[in-house]
Every structure is written in structure tokens, then in C-alpha cells.
């Protein structure tokens, strides 16, 4: 871990102003501090934003505005979130541990970095950590890596559960920076690796997340967050599915689907969502959507199983959502 300056910002403007090359904003620190201990991140300055007045959850337009500093636990246990956005609650509670959720912030969750082994290990090359050094995950230990949208530079995945739900819910990320405020649709917030895998998101230098805005609730009953992993709790997703559907009788009116653990960002396929709309809510329809989604998948040397797993998980997730029987958080039996 390197030495660094520490400043505490009282306002968003102060935080933005304190930013400069090599600076990092810190809120919960649940990921950044680990990365500093591993010498992956070596910030020259930490700007503590925990005192900014951004931890509220308030009604906004016809939805909810989640302050960037609202902890994951606060969001998950908010009554309005539970009633209107249970998909988000379930995704948050499927991730990390109670202790981490108590510390981790909404904005920080968006900005957490990949769990790729090579990214964390400074003894190995990594294009995301040190651009231009190569990607040893390709042809290496990659059972947890991406099957969608990877590049020859990087096959890392985004590790968040919460973001998968936010993608399905089509949230908007409000950011503030040197150029003022702007809003970024969730789908455009994270990036695919391309040949710049060092950039996880489209945040400009010095910009900070101030809130995540949820549009009007659409899936209070018909939703699920289904997470498959290497143990029954406290592990990152091999594949996860956030699904929400609106039904008109047995017909699907709206479908939103996002996958976690499979790409550099929460993975959506709008064609598959469109394919579902107007179709009967049957296993056959779900399989068609799943087949369409995985038709784009490309395996690495050790993660080909994820393609099949994703296909099956999509079908099951849509079944759970359509039936109104979301995956239980406590009963690990998959409904």
C-alpha cells in the first residue's frame, strides 16, 4: 500500500474541486482499500466523500432517487424499495455479506472493479491494471470470466449484483463533475472492455455519482434475482439473472432481463426482451429468448459451461418472474 494524501469533502463541489490526477473518491472503501492493499490502486490522494449529503432515499418523479451514499443495506431494507423494487432488494441481498452491505455505498457498488484473479495479482500482466501488458486470463484460469462482449484485451466481468437489477430496472445514474451535472442511462454507464479495459465506466475524470434514479415501478410482483455461484452464499455470480415481467393475463406485456457474471457490464439483450413481448409466458417462449441471448456467447478455455448455465438460468429466472415466485433469499432451494 502506498502513501497518500487524505482530504475530506463537505460538498459535492468541494469533492469535484479536490479531484486531480491520481486522486480517488472513497466512500465505503469495501473494494478500493482491498485494491490499495494489493498495490493495484495507488492513489496519490483519497477524497473522502462520506460526509456529503447524499445518503437519502427519496421519492422523485414517479420513482425513487437513491443517494449515492445510501448504503447497500439501507437501500435493501428501505420499505419503498421492498414494496416497489423488490428485484433491487433481492439483488443487493444476494451479494456480499451483511457487514459489507452496511459499509458499501450505492455509488461505490457501481464502481467496484472486477474480481479477475490477474487484475488483483501484480505479479502477472493485466491490461486493465497496466494497459498494454496483455491479458493472461485468456488461455489461463478463466472459469469466472466473460462469455459476452469480451475483447482480445480483456475478458473480465463486472462483479456487482445490484447493478444487474439496476440494468433490468433501467435506472439512470446522475453524476456531477467539473462540467456540471448530467444523467447517464444505466445501460451506458458501464463499458465493454474493447481496447481500453482500464476504463470500466463512462464517468469522466473528476465526475462522481450523486444518485441512482429508479423509474416508476413496473415489476413489484413479477420479478426474480437468481444467482448461481460456487457456494450457496458469499460468492460472486458465475451467472445471475435479474428478470422483471409485466403480464396481461398469460401474455407478456413487458420483459426486462439482465445477466450478471457474464460480461464486463450487466448484460442486456433488447432483441430478446422484444421477442418476449406479446408472447405467452411459457417455457417455450423463455427458451427462445434464452437461445437468442446465448447465441452471441463466446467461451474462453475454461468457462464454456457458463453458456449452458446462462441459458438454463434465463429460462428458470423468467419462469420464476412470470409465476410471481421470486428466488428466496433464505431458502437456497431454487424455486
Amino acid at each position: 500500500m502506498n502513501r497518500f494524501d487524505y482530504v475530506r469533502a463537505g460538498t459535492v463541489a468541494e469533492a469535484v474541486q479536490a479531484y486531480g490526477a491520481g486522486a480517488r473518491f472513497i466512500a465505503g472503501g469495501t473494494n478500493l482499500i482491498d485494491l490499495m492493499k494489493y498495490d493495484v490502486e495507488k492513489p496519490g490522494r483519497l477524497i473522502d466523500i462520506t460526509r456529503l449529503p447524499l445518503d437519502g432515499i427519496e421519492e422523485h418523479d414517479s420513482g425513487l432517487r437513491l443517494g449515492a451514499l445510501a448504503t447497500n443495506a439501507k437501500v435493501a431494507y428501505d420499505e419503498r424499495v421492498a414494496a416497489q423494487y423488490p428485484l433491487l432488494r433481492n439483488a443487493i441481498l444476494a451479494g456480499a455479506s451483511a457487514q459489507l452491505r452496511n459499509a458499501a455505498s450505492t455509488g461505490g457498488n457501481l464502481l467496484q472493479r472486477t474480481r479477475c484473479y490477474y487484475f488483483y495479482d501484480t505479479a502477472t500482466p493485466c491490461n486493465k491494471r497496466e494497459p498494454g501488458t496483455g491479458c493472461p486470463a485468456i488461455g489461463g484460469v478463466n472459469r469466472i470470466h466473460a462469455i459476452f462482449g469480451a475483447s482480445e484485451s480483456c475478458i473480465a466481468t463486472h462483479p456487482s449484483d445490484m447493478c444487474v437489477a439496476l440494468a433490468a430496472l433501467e435506472a439512470t445514474v446522475r453524476v456531477s463533475g467539473p462540467q456540471g451535472e448530467r444523467s447517464i442511462p444505466f445501460a451506458d454507464f458501464h463499458r465493454l472492455p474493447g481496447n481500453t479495459p482500464e476504463q470500466d465506466t463512462n464517468l469522466a475524470p473528476g465526475e462522481i455519482v450523486v444518485s441512482v434514479d429508479l423509474p416508476e415501478s413496473k415489476f413489484p410482483q413479477h420479478y426474480t434475482y437468481l444467482k448461481l455461484r460456487d457456494r450457496l452464499s458469499y460468492a460472486f455470480a458465475l451467472v445471475s439473472v435479474a428478470a422483471g415481467v409485466e403480464l396481461d393475463g398469460d401474455t407478456i406485456k413487458t420483459a426486462r432481463l439482465a445477466l450478471g457474471g457474464v460480461a464486463h457490464k450487466p448484460w442486456r439483450n433488447r432483441e430478446a426482451e422484444a421477442l418476449l413481448e406479446g408472447k405467452p409466458a411459457t417455457r417455450e417462449s423463455f427458451q427462445q429468448a434464452a437461445d437468442l441471448i446465448v447465441s452471441e456467447a463466446k467461451p474462453q478455455s475454461a468457462n464454456g459451461f457458463k453458456i449452458d448455465l446462462a441459458r438454463r438460468a434465463i429460462v428458470r429466472g423468467l419462469e420464476q418472474a412470470a409465476a410471481g415466485t421470486p428466488q428466496s433469499l433464505s431458502d437456497k432451494r431454487i424455486q
Binding site: Y38, T124, L228, L232, S233, L238, R312
Partner: protein, 750 residues
Amino acid sequence: MTQTFSSTGHDTFVGSPRSRIDGPAKVTGLAKYAGEFAAPDLAYGYVVSSAIAKGRIAAIESAAAEAVPSVLKVITHENRPRTAWRDKNFQDAVAPPGSPFRALYDDLIVYSGQPVALVVAEDFETARYAASLIQVRYEAQEPTTDLRAVRGDAYDPPGKREGIKPPPEPWGDADQAFGSAPIRVQGAYTLANEHHNPMEPHATTVVVEEDGTYTVYDKIQGVSNSHQYLANVFGLKPDQVRVLNPYLGGGFGSGLRPQYQAFLAMLAAQELKRSVRVTLTRDQMWSFTYRGEALQSVSLGAEADGTLTALRHDAVQGTSHYEDYQEVIVNWSGVLYRCDNVALTYRIAKLDTATPGDMRAPGAVTGVFAIETAMDELAYATGMDPIALRLKNYAESDATAEGKPFGSKELKACFTQGAERFGWSKRSPEPRSMREGRELIGWGVATGVWESMMMQSNAIATLTADGRLTVGNSTGDIGTGTYTILTQIAADTLGLPMEAVTTKLGDTRLPEAPVAGGSWTAASSGTAVMKACRNVGEQVFKLARGLENSPLANVDFDRAVFADGRIAVAGDPSRSVSMVEVMRAAGVDKLEAVEEAGPDKDFNAAYQAYTHGAIFVEVKVDEELGQVRLTRVVSAIAAGKILNPKTARSQILGGVVMGIGSALEEESMLDHRFGRFMNHNLGEYHVPVHADIYDIDVIFVDEEDKANPLGVKGLGEIGIVGTAAAITNAVFHATGKRVRDLPITIDKLL
């Protein structure tokens, strides 16, 4: 001395469930671990680890690190202080044959993660920061860490590791019998590389005392091993160094040998003439020992009625280039089953890794997984119930030891009682025949076996005139309950309440006892403590008998009964005397005895000693998604006398949970291009969490054993053995998929 324990007096505490007496200290933080002891002027060392697995260090640039204020020293191979250099000085008490690793010895890199520098600073943070400034240039060579690539070069180790029995000579003709057997099964089995990962990372605090001697707090499973090692390596007389380790935050075998942090802390303390602490990071816990994967094959031939006619079990395991690590993998097959044609082989192959080491039930976890999975396959091939097949071929004597009988073997009772508790008779044997909604249900069973050993151990007992008894020796309580059971034994032997007994362990000033491992501590230290207490008891008795008007006049010691702080005459409780009063009347402040206990040579000449278990598991597997839930476990254990059913049960629970990890989750994944374990953190190396663990039911069957006066066999390892096989067997029963490569991750069930 072959009498059973109860003849020494009353079993008031022995045999009853008692909470660990070290529990309150551990949960309140009062218990101190090796990296927590303070010293005035303590300096902190931080280890720089090699980024490559093979090659040499071309240059180490340490000027930037040395320039950081409060950095005291950067020690590398180029400037390290001199130590002993002969291999024998570095060979600790449990070292395998070879030339032990020496940190910072020269410019050669022999495994990834090997320490290449130690940065010592006034505080830990500075040491870590300075360590990040050190630039090491390597001349790298291509490493070989893929056991499959070198299995053709595997060899029978020329030097045998002490205490590790090589495979027996084959008997009959296994290959010919297999060829002509009407029923045959054959399979290749692998268990992944695993790392121990105790919660407490390895750490050593070396305190330089004013008189120039050293007090060392070392994370070790027995301080005598560190003591001998440090004295030999650093040219110290035994009384110049004292090693302590009162508590261990988990070892599982990783703390059997002194590790490089102990060497580095001592090196720095000697050089700087200052107290130094070195604590490894979690990722450095992947840098010194591991349970090495093994490539195994098992061939079983049988008659139609299930009688085994051929048994072949071959294993190849990796070792380092500098030592020939060995463990017992294949012998268990010959111990468990009666068969006329048996061939068992074990070979090792060189890899560019650290030397593997003992990890909870070393060898047995690996080998019993293979044979017990193969036996399940044979059960299906013969159409027999898996328990019936095992009973059909039940060994009544140890064919790997010239047919010597077992001192005791209540494995049949384990099967009977375990099956009853589990409800085994309700099992429908066909794979995929039991389900509940979307989940397939599988029930599997396997045998567990581990050696029951005893080691030469000493113990001291001191009774003071205030009625307090202190007992102890140098072995460690590695979290197993040793403090508690020794207290129970001591209290019962002298008829005192447990509160009157203090047990001291983990200090080289106490009588010598070996490392805590192999499940031998209860038998070894327990017997030594009992003998020391008996000796003290006899001293009090003699004092009592010599007093004027003694109620014990003319009574022989073998009629003395120790209870409630008094010595009474057997059969005549009206004749008794308080021990405290005796000592006061005699004007004696304390009575003390050191006794030695060791294996019973006559018993060992006549009998073989093993613990056994039968483990039953239920899995529920999502048919479509391959998620496995292990919903029920019954583990029935035959391990002689159970000194403390509560701590004993905890040992079995822990073993079973670790077995679940081994079967379903644990895998240190190597990138062979770098020769490096890549998932070196507890986020990506998965061990079971609470959600993975459902009901675990432990049964101890009655078993009378006479290998030692306590009748105890040891429990630290038996709980893990067989667990993985029971799980693979249950997964097969549920899904029809036979997984022979552990862990059974989701991808293997799609």
C-alpha cells in the same frame, strides 16, 4: 500400565460434555496469538514474494525502500546475515527427506511466492509501503507445475519420510485377477490442490530479552519443533531461546513445520538486535504448503456376489524440487478391505512449487475418496447395497501389516447406527429415483479411516498446598479442546474440581511433547498428564499415610480413591483425608512430578490401531441448474473412549465441514504458464460458509480400546475422511453423474 482410566478413580469429568475452557478468552479477545504479543521497541517485517516460479534473481533494487524514513533494514540474499548452512540444521522434526527451503539463501527461485526480501521498519504500514517500492529483476525460466505433464517422471521416493508407511508389497496378482474378474470397475480420481487457510495467518514475534536471549511467539502446532529449528539454524543453545504459542487460530497441518516467517523474524531480530514481528498476508498463505493434488486410479474386480478378487490403487502426487514430501494415500484400500490380490503404489513427481505438507488427514482424505467412490461404483456394478458390499469385504485384520488384528474396530456398529439414524433403509437404490420438486435427491455413504497413534510425550503436574493443581507440557492446543480434556483428566485423576486445575501448554519451558498433529495429542499428552497426576497422587498418599493417626494407615496405594479433594479408602469412604490438610500437616508447599508416556510396545507388536467412521449424506441437486445442497449428514465414529462429547463432536463437525469444502468447493487453481496459484484469497478460494451447512448429526459408537490407559484414539482427522466420497456417491445417486474430479462444481453437473 494397561488399566483403563476409570480405575484411577471416578470419571466425574472425563466422558461428560464440557465447554472449552479457553472459549471465553478466545471470544473476548483475551487469548493472544503469535502476531499479537507486544514488546518494547518492536519492529515489523514485511515479506516481498517472488513473482516468478523458476529462475534466478538478476537484481534487487532496494534503495528506494531503504530511503523511506523509519525503514530499518531491507534483507535480501545479497546481505543476509550468516546462519547455519547444513541441511540437517534446517530439518525440523517433521521434515520430509530433502534439503529444506531456506529463505533469502541465494538468488535461485524455486517456487512462486517464495520470499525474496524482508523489509523491516518501525511500523507495519511503513514496512508494507517500502516493500512495494522494491524492484526485483528476474531471469525467468519456464516452470513446471502441471502434475499431468510430469506423471511419466514420477518415482518411488528413495528416502522414506519418517512415520509414513510406504505402500506394502503387493500380494496375489491384482492385474491377472482383475483381468479375469466377472465384475470390474476402473476409474481415475483427482482431488484438487488445496490450501489450509486457517483464520490466523502465520506470524512470529521474536522478543529480544535484556539478557540477550530470545522469547519467540510462533504460530506452530508444537513449540518444540520451532525451538529445535531456531536453535539449530541460528546456532543458539537451547536455553537461549524460549518458544511459546498458547493458542492457535487454526492450523490443519499448516503449522506443523516452522515456516519462513519464523526464520525471517529471527534473522532480523538477530541482525537488528531488536524485537521483530513478521506476519504473513492472506495471499502469502498460499506461499509455503498445501495439500498436493494426486492423480489416482483404482481398479476393482469382484465376483457376482460382491467378493473382491482384485484391488489396485495407484497414486502419483507432486512434491517440490527440494524435498520428497510423502503421505499415505493408497494403503487405506488394503486396510479397509479383505482381498486376495492387491497392488498399491505411490510415486511422487517434481514440480516447481513449495513442498506440499500435511493437511488434515493427509493422504487419507485423498486416497479414501478414491477407494470409497470406487466401492460405490462396484456396488452399482454388482447391484448390491453399498453397505452390504462393504460388509461383505470387511477386513477383520490389517493385510497391510502382515495380517495383524485390529486393537478394536467398531466400524460395523458405525454402519448400523449411522444407517438407522439416517434412515438408509428407505433409500431407493436406482440413480435419479428420488426427487422433490425440481431437485433430485441422492443418498450416499462412505467409510472413514485414520491411524490411531501415540507419541512419546512428557507432562508435569504440580499440586500446591492451596489445593490447586497445575498440569501441562509443550504441545499445542490447536483449537481441538486439548486444554479442556487435559483439565478433565487431571481433575479426575486427583479428584479435584476442574476449576482447581490449570492447564498450561505451548511453552518450551514445559516438559517436551511433540507437535499437535496426527490426532495423537489426546492419547499422548492425556496419558502423560494422567501419569504425572498419579505420581503426585501417590506422593500425597504417602504423606497422608505417614501422618499420625492417619485414616490411611496400612492402606496400599491401589486402594486409594481420589474424590472431592480427598483421598479415601476404596470400599470404606469413612476413612478419608483432605489433600490440602495433608500437605499443610506435613509442611509441604508443593508436590510435583514429570512423567513420560509413550506407545505401548507390547500392544503395538500385537495389534494395529485405527479410528473408523461411516458417513451418510443427503444431497439435493437442482436437475436443471446443477446447484448442490448438502442437506443432511450423519457421521458415526468409532474412536475409542470419548473424553468430552462436546469438544469431540465439534472436531467431527469441523472435519465434516472441511470435507464438504474439499468435495464441493476448495481448489487452488494454478496458471501453469506462471507456475502460480491464481485464486489466492478467501474471496475466490471457496471454503464452506454457513449457508452451505445444514444438519450434521454425529454419533460416537461404543468402542473399547487398550492401546493406552485412557482408551482414547483421537478425533482431529477422522471426521473429514470419507466425507468427499459420501458426497460424490450421493451426487451419483441423485443425478446418475459420476464425478471423479473434485471439487464437484456446478459445471460438472450440467
